[in-house]
């Protein structure tokens, strides 16, 4: 065989990459439209409903809006201020888009195709770009931690106080919420016994118990951390234009700003994928999809549809939350990460680890059925205890002043008083 000819596995990977990037970019454009419709619905107005097919009078419910929006922002003047660090200023938006697309190498977007029988292509074909990557969850985690760089560099290279402080603020937020995110991930990884997202999905399908039922506390911690990592309201300090003069992308305009905004939108899509895959059962639905690796073409399509529907529902939830919650202040956001989410995540992790360690003994002592119910009931008990503890430990008053314990000024004050 000609060594220069790509193997069937390479061609399959390229096809998947093409489908995924095309699908994601189109979805991002149309999700912006959905978001604007959602905003209009919440605020009791009509929203974009006029742009249809260009040069005709056909409106099509405003479905041409993403095209118009995209053309507008691409054709806008791409203005680079004189005082910026040119190299990093240009590199930051490219880096953030590249990493948020590369994350999808390890994220499955369906189950498997039925055997195709192409020589050289291992059957069945999974809906996953890099099926031999054994550390999928870690890959996602690693690339989302790279995202911090472009936020930090975009702010620094702008050479603007607002941009720089915005960059530091957002990167501190991203770094802080990576820890509860990781704790939420770890609980699921422990329960499924694998770092592969497709294995995590089929583990839920086989037991029929989605991890949102088995680990409610882990789900809450992961959900909150995912909102913060995607910089969505109530954690959208990176783009708080009214009170903080924007964030790291204050100095950007035109297509570079578009890259940042698309990447932020992709982070939301990634977060929805992860929430669905890790906690909401992925492609599984009781009595509809089956659980095994053997599928027909119809079965593969149904699984793909179930996964997409769930992801779309989670995205709608993201959008609804945006119009339901006020923004956190920065110290409240940090307190939530370190004082609430971190202990709750640890409690969940310890519970899951204990259950998984003693599961064989439980099954031997109680039988399979009662052991399964106990493994679900114990995390729920921990969930309610954690909830009540967090509620009791939170001060009941609404003191909205920032809490500054023992800074030099206070010490001075204390000393002069004593």
């Amino acid at each position: 065989m000609n060594a220069l000819l790509p193997s069937p596995a390479t061609i399959a990977a390229l096809v998947k990459i093409g489908l995924l990037i095309g699908g994601l970019m189109t979805a991002a454009a149309y999700l912006v439209l959905v978001e604007r419709w959602m905003a209009a619905w919440v605020q009791d107005r009509k929203g974009p409903n006029r742009v249809g097919i260009p040069l005709t009078k056909i409106r099509l419910f405003g479905l041409g809006q993403p095209l118009a929006d995209g053309l507008k922002i691409i054709l806008k003047e791409d203005f680079t201020p004189k005082h910026v660090d040119k190299v990093l200023y240009n590199a930051a938006p490219l880096l953030i888009l590249a990493t948020s697309l590369a994350i999808f190498a390890a994220i499955p977007f369906g189950s498997v195709l039925p055997p195709l029988g192409i020589p050289g292509l291992p059957d069945p074909v999974p809906f996953l770009v890099a099926p031999s990557l054994d550390v999928g969850v870690l890959w996602v985690f690693a690339l989302s931690s790279i995202t911090v760089y472009s936020v930090l560099l975009g702010g620094w290279a702008s050479n603007n106080k607002y941009g720089f402080l915005g960059g530091l603020r957002s990167s501190a937020q991203l770094v802080a919420y990576e820890i509860p995110l990781g704790l939420g991930l770890l609980g699921v990884v422990l329960a499924a016994g694998s770092l592969r997202l497709d294995v995590i999905m089929s583990a839920q399908a086989q037991s029929g118990v989605w991890y949102v039922f088995a680990q409610p506390l882990g789900f809450i911690v992961f959900l909150v951390a995912a909102f913060a990592e995607a910089a969505r309201l109530p954690f959208d300090l990176p783009e708080a234009e009214q009170e903080l003069v924007g964030g790291y992308h204050t100095e950007y305009s035109g297509i570079k700003l578009l890259l940042f905004l698309v990447a932020e939108f992709l982070h939301m899509v990634t977060a929805s994928f992860l929430i669905v895959i890790m906690f909401l059962g992925g492609w599984h639905f009781w009595g509809l999809t089956g659980a095994g690796d053997e599928v027909t073409w119809a079965g593969a399509l149904i699984r793909f549809g179930v996964l997409s529907a769930k992801i779309f529902a989670v995205i709608l939830f993201f959008m609804l939350v945006r119009w339901s919650w006020p923004r956190f202040r920065f110290d409240q956001l940090m307190n939530l990460a370190w004082k609430v989410m971190l202990p709750l995540g640890l409690a969940n992790l310890v519970t899951v680890a204990t259950i998984e360690e003693f599961r064989p003994q439980l099954v031997a002592a109680l039988g399979a059925g009662p052991a399964k119910w106990l493994a679900i009931a114990a995390p729920w008990a921990v969930f309610f205890i954690g909830w009540i503890a967090a509620g009791l430990l939170t001060p009941s008053g609404t003191d909205n002043r920032p809490i500054r314990a023992h800074d030099p000024f206070d010490i001075e004050h204390e000393l002069s008083g004593a």
Binding site: L133, V135, A142, Y149, L168, L195, H406, E414, L415
Partner: protein
């Protein structure tokens, strides 16, 4: 084929590569010159560096297929070139960015060689956590990045020679290992290590770590915990002593 391209023995080629890389590093390191002389030195250094890299590539062993070979070459070149750029760049922020890129290259090399966990962990731990902290401090401490100690390198000649000698010794010994000295190779790389790179990579790695190396893992964990407690203790003590100092004054 190799001898046809370069009519030199591998030993001579390696020595030339080491010398060239030492000279190139010395020329590239910031030595407090100004204007045209610095620019000339940079161009010269870059040229010598490219020559040294080419020599190292020629002396090295070939991997399997064409695709694997080219991907390996690209990621390892990224790692090496950005590591050199880390040392020679004048701005601390740029040095940190180059270092991050170098880590990404190293992670790429590890991924190509099949050590997936190690590759991804390199990115998570070094690039994702430690270097971000560096960047925070660098950006806050020195927005302009033009302090004298950034513009002039400390002992450029000794540093360049030491680095190049280390490079040469490592490639010599590793080259001998991979060239088929099986007695040594078997001693250094036991069968288990190769086994950990097969399917179920992470499970095998975890089993290995938590059976044969259990004590080391636990000791490392305890050390990290002590460091954590120590840092908290230092922060708390600092505040206390500040109050006491003021009270005494």
């Amino acid at each position: 084929m190799l001898a046809a391209i370069v009519p030199l023995s591998p030993g001579v080629l390696l020595a030339a590569a080491v010398t060239a890389s030492a000279a190139s590093l010395w020329l590239l390191l910031p030595r407090g010159q100004s204007g045209r002389r610095e620019r000339t030195a940079r161009w010269l250094g870059a040229g010598l560096g490219v020559a040294a890299l080419a020599a190292f590539i020629i002396t090295g062993r070939r991997l399997g297929g064409l695709g694997e070979e080219s991907v390996f070459l690209i990621v390892s070149l990224v790692a090496v070139v950005s590591a050199a750029a880390t040392v020679v760049s004048r701005s601390p922020v740029y040095a940190a960015i180059w270092f991050a890129l170098s880590l990404a290259g190293v992670a790429g090399v590890l991924l190509v060689l099949g050590a997936q966990f190690l590759g991804v962990a390199t990115i998570v731990v070094y690039a994702g956590a430690i270097l971000v902290m560096f960047l925070f401090v660098l950006m806050l401490a020195q927005p302009s990045g033009l302090a004298p100690y950034d513009r002039v390198s400390n002992e450029p000649l000794l540093a360049a020679v030491a680095g190049a000698v280390l490079l040469g010794l490592l490639s010599l010994s590793i080259g001998r290992l991979s060239a088929g000295d099986t007695a040594v190779a078997a001693d250094v790389a036991p069968a288990v290590a190769v086994d950990a790179l097969q399917a179920d990579h992470v499970a095998r790695l975890g089993g290995e770590l938590f059976s044969r190396h259990l004590i080391a893992i636990e000791a490392a964990g305890v050390l990290l915990l002590i460091a954590l407690i120590g840092s908290i203790a230092i922060v708390a003590r600092g505040e206390e002593s500040r109050v006491q100092e003021r009270r005494a004054a």
